[in-house]
């Protein structure tokens, strides 16, 4: 296939959206399709690639694992005409499925490489004391799948801002180069516990930069 690769103009529109409830069962690939469908239905004048097979150019910052929810996920595209950001949000919401909502639209400020961390909220049928004790162990060794196979990593130094109250909240490294799925921690805990965890709910609440500020 000798598709003409055209230069990608910079994106100028960033939509923060939530993906909750039923929508957590939508894979990233399906989310991509759902978003493009919504943009088309909303008739937003977005930029298409100019190759042999033009397609809508949209970019997701950080894919969310199947089964996890997100309240402030990030989607970028380029608008070819001025549409007020509030109107973009509204038009998208009229075109999106109920469990995916546009929260806010803004001009992109930071680049995806600025993302370093994400914050998660976890609920599950867990003995919280016990879980806390587990996270205090010296090392939490897990197997992580990488492009080259699997490698062993120690999660312990990667967890930050852990709080175990009503819910468990914690931060883990995030980004395109190095990303830790919170399920790794839960799987390790499950293995240590020797039994299944039920009613597990993972919500990504924040996408953060090195200085701890929210990704904009």
């Amino acid at each position: 296939m000798s598709e003409v690769i055209s230069a990608v103009p910079s994106v100028n529109t960033r939509v923060f959206f939530s993906k909750t409830d039923r929508a957590k069962y939508i894979s990233h690939l399906d989310l991509n399709r759902a978003m493009q469908g919504a943009i088309k239905r909303a008739k937003l004048p977005v930029w298409y690639t100019e190759g042999y097979n033009p397609h809508m150019y949209v970019q997701f910052m950080l894919p969310l694992s199947l089964g996890q929810e997100g309240v402030r996920e990030v989607l970028d595209f380029r608008l070819l005409e001025d549409v007020p950001f509030e109107e973009v949000t509204e038009r998208l919401n009229n075109a999106l499925p109920l469990d995916i909502r546009a929260v806010e639209t803004a001009a992109p400020v930071l680049k995806n490489t600025d993302i370093t961390t994400a914050e998660y909220e976890i609920t599950a049928d867990i003995d919280k004391e016990d879980f806390l004790k587990f996270t205090e162990s010296e090392k939490i060794i897990v197997e992580k799948k990488t492009k080259k196979g699997t490698s062993e990593i120690n999660l312990k130094p990667l967890i930050s801002e852990l709080s175990v109250c009503e819910r468990i909240t914690l931060r883990l490294p995030a980004g395109n180069d190095f990303n830790i799925n919170p399920m790794l921690l839960l799987d390790a805990y499950r293995a240590a516990l020797g039994k299944e965890l039920s009613r597990v709910r993972i919500v990504r609440t924040k996408i953060l930069c090195a200085d701890g500020s929210e990704f904009r």
Partner: protein, 624 residues
């Protein structure tokens, strides 16, 4: 969105416990764009529309989309979708005591007023039973004594509904657009009056197109054939299929449920015509969907535009039995491509006839990505094509193939049937000869890509005689006959560029048995299901041994239904159903087939199939 939109959160919580362990969970939770959610407190009649196959298959079906939109357009009616879960999901549901639920509300379907099945092919019968059972309902109609849920069924297979009579309370014969709403209105009324089930059925029997099997008695002759079918009052002796009289004013969906996951046909679909002018003698659809009616160009364009805008789809497919028989097909394509090309939408045209495959039409469809093209000559020789009244010539096929090759295609698929009435070895060799002529056509193209070989695949299915066709009297070829025919063509084959695929006989046999079954076969369907049969249309789940045992245990012989010639004066199990095409016409067509005589298509000349006599002169638009 200010309305109080309903969702069963208790069910959602139960599903949350295990859905992530299930393959493609998005199929089981609904919530798609275009799915209709209502305020349950304002709904009077609830309809669970069940497609007895997987989500991916059912969601691709146009009929379901039409009836879904039509019912939900009534504010106090709510129609929801239900599909058959695959075994991993079903096993979890059964283990956890989760009954079959509908995708919009997530409510168990046993709480609905109607559970309606659309029956598109015979091999889904056991799946219907499995779905009823998974819903927590008795599969036998007589064991469901309450008015609701009432189990109803429609679709092409119910033109011979007999093997399903034990399980279904009511059948809808013919086109569903009007009669579905009439039934729902009757339900609304009967619920208000607290009428019992029996009263509902008796009142429904007065509606044209409604068949209540429990109001008919069947007697048999000593040789096993049907002796008589007698209606009990107040049911009519003959049930006549419903048709929509004004196709332009008929409801057409302006929106589809857009699935999250990929499905078989994930695109907008617009119906362009109903019925077929061709009269291929093996084709049930060609007879039971008569009369021939075309939608106007403006209506088709409006529906296309509306659907594409509401769904965001960038592919639209024109749907009909034979789209190229649309009278002004070139005008229609021009009108449509004016819109689609401006909006970056691909237009796809399945069901083209080889004799109408002109360069003009070809140009319109080649904007679509070039994949393979499929042609269906159905039989290998002109003699046999005349017998089946598939009025295409070898030249038609080769001309079309030539256009396709010149247009850059190199893969051609050819569909044929084995076991057609009067078939000889010469006809079978003709199949291969035609495939070879197609290969030669590729090399005859001077502009072909050098170094590239054509790929021609020949698909051989087994002929299945169907009710309401001129071949309903014909025996299906036996397994030995089909095997020897398949063997013959394999021995005759000598070109590596031609690949041959054969269908499994067992599947075709079962389809043939169920298609022309009588009421007694219901017992075999029940036993097969009890033995674990479901999703019979899926090779990985199909188990013919269980079916054979089931037939054996109820003392029924499959070959009696499939492989026996039926006399013209035999009472067919479906003889109390009037599909508007007359039996005399079918008999006459059968005789002509055996004489190798063709019948002109309806546009060339009316052959008095019975439509005009049955419904009046202006409904059939084949000639005008």
């Amino acid at each position: 969105m200010t309305e109080n939109l309903y969702k069963n959160t208790e069910m959602m919580n139960k599903l949350d416990e295990f859905l992530l362990d299930i393959q493609k969970p998005a199929r089981y939770i609904g919530g798609e764009v275009g799915s209709v959610i209502k305020d349950k407190s304002k709904v009077d009649v609830r309809f669970a529309f069940c497609f007895p196959d997987t989500y991916e298959i059912g969601m691709s079906h146009l009929g379901m989309k039409i009836l879904y939109g039509l019912k939900n357009a009534v504010p106090n009616y709510w129609c929801e979708r239900v599909f058959m879960p695959l075994p991993d999901m079903e096993e979890q549901m059964r283990r956890r005591g989760i009954p079959l639920y509908a995708l919009e509300s997530l409510d168990p379907i046993r709480e609905f007023d109607f559970i309606g099945f659309t029956i598109q092919y015979e091999l889904c019968y056991t799946t219907i039973l499995e779905m009823l059972d998974l819903a927590g309902l008795p599969v036998l109609a007589e064991e469901r004594t309450e008015l609701t849920p009432l189990v109803v069924a429609g679709g092409p297979c119910v033109c011979n509904a007999e093997p399903l009579c034990d399980f279904i309370d009511l059948f809808i014969i013919g086109e569903g657009e009007e009669v579905n709403l009439e039934l729902m209105r009757l339900m609304e009324q009967c619920k208000k009056e607290s009428a019992p089930k029996r009263e509902f059925l008796e009142r429904a029997a007065q509606i044209e197109g409604i068949y209540i099997p429990s109001l008919y008695d069947v007697e048999y002759n000593a040789d096993g054939t049907v002796k008589s079918i007698t209606a009990r009052k107040p049911a009519p002796q003959t049930v006549t299929k419903r048709i929509v009289h004004d196709i332009d004013k008929m409801y057409a969906p302006d929106n589809f449920v857009v699935p999250f996951c990929d499905i078989v046909h994930n695109r907008a679909v617009v119906e362009v015509l109903r019925g077929c002018i061709r009269g291929c003698r093996f084709c049930q659809a060609g007879y039971i969907y008569r009369p021939f009616r075309e939608k106007g160009k403006t209506a088709i364009l409006d529906q296309t535009r509306c659907l594409c805008e509401n769904t965001g789809y960038d592919e639209v497919s024109l749907s009909s039995l034979s789209t190229s028989d649309y009278k002004d097909i070139e005008g229609l394509l021009k009108t449509l491509t004016d819109y689609t090309s401006k909006n970056g939408i691909n237009l796809s045209l399945p069901s083209l006839r080889v004799d109408r495959f002109s360069e003009e039409v070809f140009k319109e469809i080649t904007d679509v990505r070039k994949s393979g093209l499929t042609f269906a000559p159905e039989a290998g020789s002109q003699r046999l094509r005349n017998v089946i009244n598939k009025n295409v010539t070898e030249k038609n096929v080769l001309d079309s193939v030539k256009i396709a090759f010149e247009g850059g295609y190199s893969a051609i698929k050819l569909y044929f049937m084995l076991g057609l009435p009067t078939e000889t070895e010469e006809d079978i060799e003709g199949i291969y000869d035609l495939a070879k002529a197609v290969v030669e056509q590729f090399y005859a193209n001077p502009n072909r890509k050098k170094g590239k070989a054509p790929s021609v695949s020949v698909s051989l299915s087994t002929f299945i005689p169907k009710p309401f066709t001129p071949f309903e009297f014909e025996p299906q070829a036996s397994e030995e006959e089909i095997r020897s025919k398949q063997k013959h063509i394999m021995e005759y084959a000598n070109d590596k560029k031609i690949t041959i695929s054969r269908s499994k006989y067992d599947v075709s046999l079962l389809e043939a048995v169920l298609a022309r079954a009588d009421r007694r076969v219901g017992k075999a369907v029940y036993l097969a299901w009890k033995k674990g049969c479901k999703l019979d249309g899926w090779e990985e789940y199909f188990d013919m041994n269980k079916w054979r045992e089931a037939f054996g245990e109820c003392g029924l012989d499959m070959s009696f239904y499939a492989n026996r010639r039926r006399e013209y004066d035999e009472t067919a199990p479906w003889s109390h159903i009037n599909m508007l095409v007359s039996r005399e016409f079918l008999i006459n067509e059968n005789k002509k087939a055996h004489e190798g005589e063709t019948t002109p298509n309806c546009r060339e000349q009316c052959s008095n199939c019975g439509i005009i006599k049955n419904v009046g002169g202006d409904i059939c638009r084949a000639i005008r």
